[in-house]
Every structure is written in structure tokens, then in C-alpha cells.
Amino acid sequence: MRHLLSVSDLGPDGIEEVMGLTDSFVEVSSRAIPKVPTLRGKTVVSLFFENSTRTRLSFETAAKRLSADTMTFSVGTSSVNKGESVRDTVETIEAMGIDAVVVRHSSAGVPWQVSRWIDAAVINAGDGWHEHPTQALLDCYTIRERLATLEGRRVAIVGDIKHSRVARSAVLAFTALGADVTLVAPPTLLPPSLAGWPVQVSHDLDEVLPKVDVVYLLRMQSERTQEALIPSLREYTARYGLTRRRAAQLQPSTLVMHPGPMNRGVEIAAEVTTMPNAVITRQVANGVAVRMAVLFLLLGSGAGR
């Protein structure tokens, strides 16, 4: 594997390999000096055409803990504002001698396109509505950490599935590891076709909640009200929000997850985020170790070439 563009680049065995490597990097992260010399002399560039806090910082932290050099490209301060194309931007950066590019873009397929243009390893950090593979990998790791395995676990993914790259990658990864996935959303927030998706669909959150091992909430964007996909955020919360009352229906062991950034009071009540089984900050912490594993796999393990 030279690039990580989609969860399907990995397959079940590849996901397991990342999980095993992540165990080692969790150990590295737990040390007093959480740094190893593994990727000394390698350069990792984050190329973010779209805003991000946690993903960009997470990748940069991961690269630094592996002793790689990092460069950051933010579109706001770049020559893209002078009209430079994505291709020219990428080829300019590659000419400086780099080993990996972490790409985020609002259009699906940009990381794939970049991977055709350059020799460096390309990691998809979120492209349009398409995929966000490292998010799905850290979610798998977090579930395994608490529930031992995904095999046979019942996972509900709740919210705006249609516009969610997180949901696409999560469905691929969770089902590859044997989980039973149910998508819960109003019909307007589901993709036009779910043909070929190995999932069940429900429009009734209250009916699903008591039966699942994991509730995975997606961010509800207020733009969706303007597009008339939902009547109002209040109505969305009433039907699909994980309120305190709904959280009480969960089994005590059920995990509550959210990829962030959260809209407290919309898809998740503020009190729910601090429940003992809300693992939202674990997801962020594991994100660094998972991204170390991905960088190591592509740049250091020798498996990439």
C-alpha cells in the first residue's frame, strides 16, 4: 500500500495491522518522552484546503512523535489565493523533497487525484462527502479498547449520513471488522441509494437505542436547515438528538462516540458528553497513535514500496 485514500485500501487484514501497530504507538505516547526516532529525515506536509483543528494537529503531532519534519499548508495564507491550481501547488511542494502529503479538500477525489501527480505517499484526511479513513481507524481502535472487538457488536450511526465522509469510512471499517451497523436518520439525510451498503436503516432512534453497543453521533450542520432537509435544529434534536432522557435508555455499557466538532445541545446534550461511557476524548487521544501507525506503515515499515 503506497497511499491511504479509502478504508477499502486496507481491507480487514490491513485494518488489523493498523490496530496492532497502534498498540505499540499508544505505549510510545504513554512514555515520559513520547517520541521515537523512526521517521528521522522524512518530511510530512499537511495540505489543508479546508478548515480543521483536530485532524491537522493530530497528524502533525503524530509526525513529530515519529521524529519526521512537518510543514503546514493552509489555503488562507497560500498562493492559492493568487489563483494557483491544486496541481501546481502540489508539484511545487513536491519539488521541495517530501515523503508524505496529508490532504483535506472539500471536493471528493482530490487526494486520489493528487496521488496520480506525485510520488510521495498521500493520506486522505477528508475529501468532500467521500471518506475520512483515519477517523474510522481511530474509531475502530477506540471501540476495541473498550469492547475488545467489533465482531458482532451493534453500532448505530446517527445523523446526517448523506453529507458525512466520516459515516462512509466508518461503515466500511466497522463492517469489515464484523460489526452490525444501523444508520439512523430522517430520509432526507440519507444518501439517495444505499444499494451495496451492508447496513440496516431506521428512522426511529428510540427504538434502536436500547439494542446497541455503540451510538455514533454525527455533526448536524445548521446549513441543512437552509437546504430544507430538516425543519429546524430543535425538531432534529427532538427526533434524533441524544438527549439526557434518551441516554437513560442506553445499556450501561453502551459507548457514546462523536467525531467532533460537536454541536452541544443539538445532536448531543452537554451532560451526555461527560457520561462515563462517552469516549469522545479517547477518540481524540487515540487519533494521534492511529495516525502514527498509518505514517509508519506508509513511510517506515518498508511495506509501502
Binding site: 501497530l21 505499540s24 499508544v26 505505549e27 523512526t38 509508519f296 513511510l299
Partner: protein, 174 residues
């Protein structure tokens, strides 16, 4: 292909016993000694050495395990993946570390291990125990405790297990 048993299980057991006595003798007891086995071959040997030291001195030593994959000098040149998670649940500062491995060959694994140990604290001293020293060093590294010095060709393979030590031709490398 020719394979020769160069140490029996009893030979290995006697070597562990002798090395245990040498560790005690050289360090004038077992104060501040910790054992760290290298993944994967050194880990069972470190545990056996610890059991032997407990038997002869009545002291239970801390035993850790170390995987050096992230510290190797051939990263990117060939497939390198960690075999297991490193487990050193104690600070090494001020301790005398006895590193334990099954076979000492080029010395590059030990070089990586010395780097790795640094990240767990500043050990007072590091000593090296190996079951087999097969020669062909590429770095200025020598063992403090040796089960057996075994002259080999570079292309031979040495296999250490509970059943003993076997020297044979390399099976086709994949």
C-alpha cells in the same frame, strides 16, 4: 538441508544457571538490577533468567520486554514491523539493566536497544546477556554473559528455543 543441534535443552538450562550466577557475582548481589528481554527471542530467556535468580538468591527482579522496531537503522530498507508492544513498567534511572537476547549477530539490534533504553530513563549501567554469540559483528558491541560462542557462516541460521539451539542453513527467505 543440514541442521545440527548444537545445544540440548539441558545445555540451555545449565547455561541459564551459569549466567545467573555470573550476574550475581559481577554485580555483588542483585541490588537495583532489572532484566529486559528483547522481542521476541530474548523475552522467554529473560523470564527464565529471572526465575533462576529468584531460586538462587531469593530475589524477584523486575522483568520488562523491549521491541526495537522503531529504533532500527534499516527502516525503509526492508519490511520492519514491531513483533509486540514494549512493556517496561518501571523507570530505569539509576538501575543496572541486563539486556537479554537469544542470538548476538551483527550487533545492530543491540545498538537499537541501547537507544530505546535511553527513552525509559538513564540507566546506571547496561549489561548484555545472550544465549548464543555467533560472531560477524558490525558494531563495537560485546556481550557480558554468553551461553555459547558459536562460529557460524553469515548465511546460516541459529534457532534458540526451550528445546535447545539448532544451527542450520537458511530456509529460503521470502
Amino acid at each position: 538441508m543440514p541442521r545440527a543441534q548444537v545445544m540440548s535443552d539441558a545445555d540451555v538450562r545449565r547455561a541459564v544457571t551459569r549466567i545467573a550466577h555470573e550476574v550475581v557475582e559481577r554485580n555483588h548481589g542483585l541490588a537495583d538490577i532489572v532484566l529486559i528481554g528483547l522481542q521476541t527471542g530474548g523475552v522467554p530467556l529473560a523470564n527464565r533468567l529471572a526465575a533462576e535468580l529468584a531460586r538462587i538468591e531469593g530475589t524477584d527482579l523486575p522483568v520488562g520486554s523491549l521491541d526495537v522496531a522503531f529504533y532500527r537503522d534499516d527502516i525503509g530498507l526492508r519490511p520492519v514491523l514491531p513483533e509486540a508492544v514494549t512493556d517496561i513498567p518501571f523507570d530505569l534511572t539509576g538501575k543496572t539493566v541486563v539486556l537479554v537476547d537469544d542470538v548476538l549477530f551483527t550487533g545492530r539490534t543491540i545498538r537499537a536497544a541501547l537507544n530505546a533504553l535511553n527513552d525509559y530513563g538513564r540507566a546506571r549501567a547496561v549489561q548484555l546477556a545472550v544465549m548464543v554469540d555467533r560472531g560477524h559483528r558490525e558494531l563495537p558491541i560485546r556481550p557480558d554473559y554468553v551461553g555459547k560462542n558459536l562460529p557460524t557462516r553469515r548465511d546460516e541460521m541459529v534457532d534458540v528455543s526451550d528445546e535447545g539451539v539448532i544451527l542450520g542453513d537458511v530456509v529460503a527467505v521470502k
